[in-house]
Symmetry: C2
Subunit: 216 residues, 2 copies
């Protein structure tokens, strides 16, 4: 995305055109973060539709806190979508560096390793934040406005998809890190931990949504 347009300023139809273009930026990493951001926004909407309603006064304080946290995660994931695009742009540029001489090859290789570290770190952060969105969706599903139960469920599904999608982006970039980069060793356990959170959180959130849809 060589013209450096900010993703968040793009009209939606143009974002989708760019996602589908032959330019690898923005790609799956940004799309995964955006899915998480949409999930966070939906948690905030469910909270908004619950706060101040007499039937839900019991959980008012909890729901205000969930709303606050959801808006915070929405902002961070939107920012991570941009960071992912920027980081992958640097990767693409590093790949195009000359590799004629030994010196050029060495310079290209270290530029690529540095770029790949960001391209792995950023989606790992996105996966962590998406796991927090999934947790917020799981917590609001049983206590939020019943008429918005499906929105809490969609939030959970988008957060889980964003989480798992971000992890795929970590995994594809990991083999290109410098051999002595500590993240090579630490990432697999963190990936497994986050994958387990995705499965557990999605199951719990959807069970809560199912219970509310079954008894409208």
């Amino acid at each position: 995305m060589s013209d450096q347009t900010q993703l968040t300023d793009l009209p939606l139809h143009e974002l989708l055109e760019r996602l589908g273009s032959s330019d690898p930026v923005p790609g799956g990493g940004s799309a995964a973060a955006l899915a998480g951001a949409m999930g966070a926004a939906l948690v905030a909407m469910v909270a908004e539709l619950t706060i101040g309603r007499p039937g839900y006064a019991e959980h008012e304080e909890t729901i205000r806190k969930l709303r606050f946290d959801a808006l915070d995660r929405r902002t961070e994931l939107l920012d991570l979508a941009q960071q992912d695009a920027d980081a992958y742009d640097v990767v693409v540029r590093a790949r195009h560096l000359p590799k004629e001489s030994d010196a050029e090859r060495a310079a290209r290789s270290s530029a690529l390793e540095a770029a790949m570290l960001d391209a792995a770190r950023i989606p790992l952060r996105a996966a962590v934040v998406a796991s927090e969105v999934l947790d917020l969706a799981e917590r609001i599903a049983p206590i939020g406005n019943r008429n918005a139960a499906s929105d809490a469920g969609v939030a959970a599904q988008l957060a889980a998809a964003g989480l798992r999608g971000a992890l795929l982006n970590v995994r594809i970039n990991l083999p290109y890190l410098a051999p002595d980069e500590p993240m090579r060793a630490s990432a697999p356990a963190e990936i497994a931990r986050l994958e387990a959170l995705a499965a557990k959180g999605e199951h719990a959130a959807l069970a809560a949504v199912d219970a509310r849809l079954a008894a409208p």
Copy 2:
């Protein structure tokens, strides 16, 4: 979304603000369709990054067809996101109709049933189209550009999340349809069929992505 702005013209940051606002429109139905549209866009990107590359010439024709189909589904899902917002806007307006007299209550009830039929039909169509996107992701994952394997995986996850999210929107609106509306009887089997497709397609696509990430 009373000002009738087209969702696709909104800058991304504003879309996310509206998704998270106290206005129930746009809501989870639109977000689910948009997730599917992002998935479709990513399938098209993987195809673009594969077409014309010598190492992938064997599947060129298949991949051109997958690209064409993905762009078609992207357009339809973007349109369905808008239709979902418009339909839910009509539901919200019907809910606000007066209900003082018997005549008013009868008019409100039939307006609401008519509005709910669209609010159930549109996400059901979105679920069908998202299932097609999932199928495209499953088909491109093993044969597309290996460097974009994670993008095919994100496409599958977004399509599956969009599919399941759309079905939640069908399910929450179904109880409000007219008692003699045929969709009441036909929807449960269709929902079960699409849920099975989501599970099967997601599993197959991610197995293909895993195989490619394991052998880079």
